[in-house]
Point group: C2
């Protein structure tokens, strides 16, 4: 029954990149329009985004943050205020130069990120230590001019949330930066079922203008890493550039300490490449727009005999808070429908036919393992809810196993190069901390240091590249 | 106790426009940044928007629509495809002419509305009558270059939802257009407590490219009308311009029939100007970020004696699903806090002091009427929830009364002119249907026809301007 789709989706092993694009297109997650690199997020893809967003938004609010909205545009002069920041972002900016029929006196950048828009407001709002901390988050679209794009992973416009906070002390800013990284880790692992490694970025991979950048890194099933979220301690760099000051308890003027952190629509790419298979998408139940699809066996007078029972089940499951859909389309066979919903990655299929009705049961089929379960209609809500949680846990378990199997400690450069060539993954190798070694390894293997993982310090070793002293095994990978 | 604020908020009767800006600023709803006409929606204002958005989003989904996301940019050539549409929007467009360090071959418009972005995709996706109807909504930011701006009411960038649907027949498109107008009416009246008049716009006020535009119109407390939401039947105009075709059941190629409809952050302006008073904002409970603020009476050892009880009440109300806040700030007196929360329009204040604790009661104070209620702590959740619904209903009631009192049937041009000059409001007058009469009335009085109200036809009369035959009393007002 999968045949139709197998012929339409390129097998993962044959061409991973083509497989990815096939899944995006066939599951109707996204499409391209007439503006290069700008993606259309179709309803099914957006449904996944909405659920993921709600989970993350709840966590952001539970940690004391409020949402707000800042303008799309910023004047060129504002972007230029923080020297490293403008150097990092200026090449990617889209510029508005005309508006309302006239040339603008000063071009406006379309926000690539909002530090330079938000900081001037914070400088205006913050007066006293009593105004601190400022804990604000924004859900918005941002634009970064990209040469090579891929839906969800790298697009000219994307959706994200960006948190921007100001604190009275360096310690509080660092605590906030790490707290939000932990929020991201928990969100990715609990709701997206995507395991991540947490740690600090090296200087060369730091956010433009940051003091320290932390990241969560996930391993995709082609062995390449995906930077899944970042949290930046901006120190006093932006506070000084934009004049964010406050009077402390001793009535002395101080500069604030700020942070920023973001997660984007890229998470949908992470979900596709972590859980998907040759039949298409597999959506974790927590973020599935449809958790259970009910397919009545359509033979003979099924609309009179089977369909009413299918409707009862739909009503029952929905009342229990399960997101479900009844596929009562006339024009397709059950087999066609099975394949269609498998491709879209609906976690559980619920089949019901005349024999099932006689036995007061339905057949539940797991998308992840294809396991079939015969379940009594009495108590189906409970069984379905339990099964969904079981699938969520087992997707995470499977992804952890893949990640662990593809994480290797490597101490010789020849082995490192060979592995990166043959079968990439996470390689844990000692590194001396030198930017030159990092750059040369990248030039030779195209692998980068994804993070210096938390808890990796203290072990003694020699740098895989220069044999210099090293106290960390860091995480290398080829990355998206 | 209101004294402090009375001196900071300009009285409504003295200068309505200044009063409005004072409320926006003092209640920390919005602020201006460095880009002209672009508004910052501060957390408290955004909290109102989030709740309103959730109420409307639920209704949009319940009527069968799904959310999606389309790009921010559209090529100049796409905007030009529908002749009336480009004529209407081109003067207001912001243009991106540089990106990634290079001049663009074709300038990109920042969306002022998304018909010209979405229609090409529909042309691609729709093949057969089986693909219809397409029922998609988008929550997004849009940009219209405005010369004169006012927070929430008219800003260069604003947030909104825009629905875009395609149907197989003219009848279905008309049905959809009216259905969404009714969704807007219900949302505005039920959740924002803002009464509206529904009807059709005249040709001169039609959306650029539409066959028919319907609107909901509200009357602000300065006697001026606010267009609160619009729903457009686009006929086949856009389907023909963008080639949206489908094969019908007889396998003949047809053009689709499309609609679009939108409501924006302007709704916050409607809430301010409908319910606000000289002490500031009054937020209807359904959309209030804080529904109940708990103020402990801070005297003596209140942190030991009163605060624990206030905390219990907070926990109890929150568990009952009431959005509440405990104001335990040390640095302010209860009186200062009362005024502060009044200004922010929190519907109910809950005071608790040593005497109340002895009597096992609290004092609830309504923001709308300032009525004081002594309520037992046992069963407070129920009493508070009931009171919130009562306030919601009475805000709507009061707004209806204001609107009705300021709606006048007028049959003489002199009276019309005098009323528009002296005390504006909704004037219901006969109109012949001629664009010239409409234009001349506007030139003389600056009043426009807000809508031809539903159900207004059939009555016989003579046009207030030309004395020609008329079959409708239409709704005139000066408008925002």
């Amino acid at each position: 029954m999968d045949k139709r789709w197998v012929s339409e989706i390129t097998p993962k092993a044959e061409d991973f990149s083509k497989w990815y694009l096939d899944v995006v297109r066939k599951a109707e997650l996204a499409d391209y329009g007439s503006v290069k690199g700008c993606m259309i997020i179709r309803p099914y893809g957006y449904g996944i985004w909405e659920r993921a967003r709600d989970h993350l938004d709840r966590r952001i609010k539970e940690t004391g943050h409020e949402n707000a909205y800042f303008p799309l545009f910023l004047p060129e002069s504002a972007l230029k205020k923080e020297a490293d920041h403008v150097k990092g972002f200026a090449p990617e900016v889209a510029w508005v130069t005309r508006g309302g029929g006239e040339e603008l006196e000063e071009p406006l950048a379309v926000r690539p990120t909002s530090e330079a828009i938000i900081c001037p407001m914070y400088a205006k709002w913050i007066r006293s230590y009593r105004d601190l901390p400022v804990l604000i988050n924004q859900w918005a679209n941002v634009v970064r001019w990209e040469k090579v794009t891929r839906p969800f992973l790298r697009t000219t416009e994307f959706l994200w949330q960006e948190g921007h906070t100001v604190h009275a002390t360096a310690e509080e800013a660092e605590e906030e930066t790490l707290k939000m990284l932990e929020v991201y880790r928990d969100f990715y692992e609990t709701d997206l079922a995507v395991p991540v490694v947490t740690g600090e970025k090296t200087a060369s991979e730091r956010f433009a203008g940051a003091l320290r950048t932390y990241a969560i890194e996930a391993l995709m099933t082609d062995g390449r890493a995906l930077q899944a979220g970042t949290s930046h301690n901006l120190g006093q760099h932006f506070a000084k550039a934009f004049g964010i000051t406050f009077e402390d308890e001793k009535q002395e003027l101080q500069h604030g300490w700020s942070t920023s952190w973001g997660v984007s629509t890229r998470l949908i790419g992470a979900v596709i490449m972590t859980h998907g298979d040759d039949s298409g998408l597999v959506v974790p139940p927590h973020i599935a727009p449809i958790q259970v699809v009910i397919v009545p066996i359509s033979a003979g007078d099924w609309r009179e005999t089977v369909l009413p029972h299918a409707r009862d089940i739909f009503t029952k499951l929905r009342a229990a808070g399960i997101r479900c859909k009844l596929d009562d389309r006339d024009m397709h066979t059950p087999g066609w429908k099975y394949a269609d919903w498998e491709m879209r990655g609906v976690p559980v299929r619920c089949e019901i036919g005349p024999k099932d009705i006689q036995k007061h049961q339905v057949v539940l089929v797991r998308r992840d393992s294809r396991e079939k379960l015969f379940v009594p209609i009495d108590g189906l809500e409970r069984a379905a809810a339990d099964l969904l949680e079981k699938i969520q846990a087992s997707l995470f378990q499977r992804a952890c196993e893949y990640r662990d199997k593809n994480t290797t400690d490597v101490d010789k450069m020849e082995v490192f190069e060979e592995l990166m060539e043959r079968r990439p993954g996470f390689l844990r190798s000692f590194w001396c901390g030198g930017a030159e070694c990092e750059a040369e390894i990248k030039a030779r293997t195209s692998a980068t240091i994804r993070v210096v993982p938390f808890g990796s310090d203290g072990e003694k070793g020699v740098c895989i590249h220069c044999n210099g002293e090293a106290t960390n095994r860091v995480l290398f990978a080829k990355a998206y």
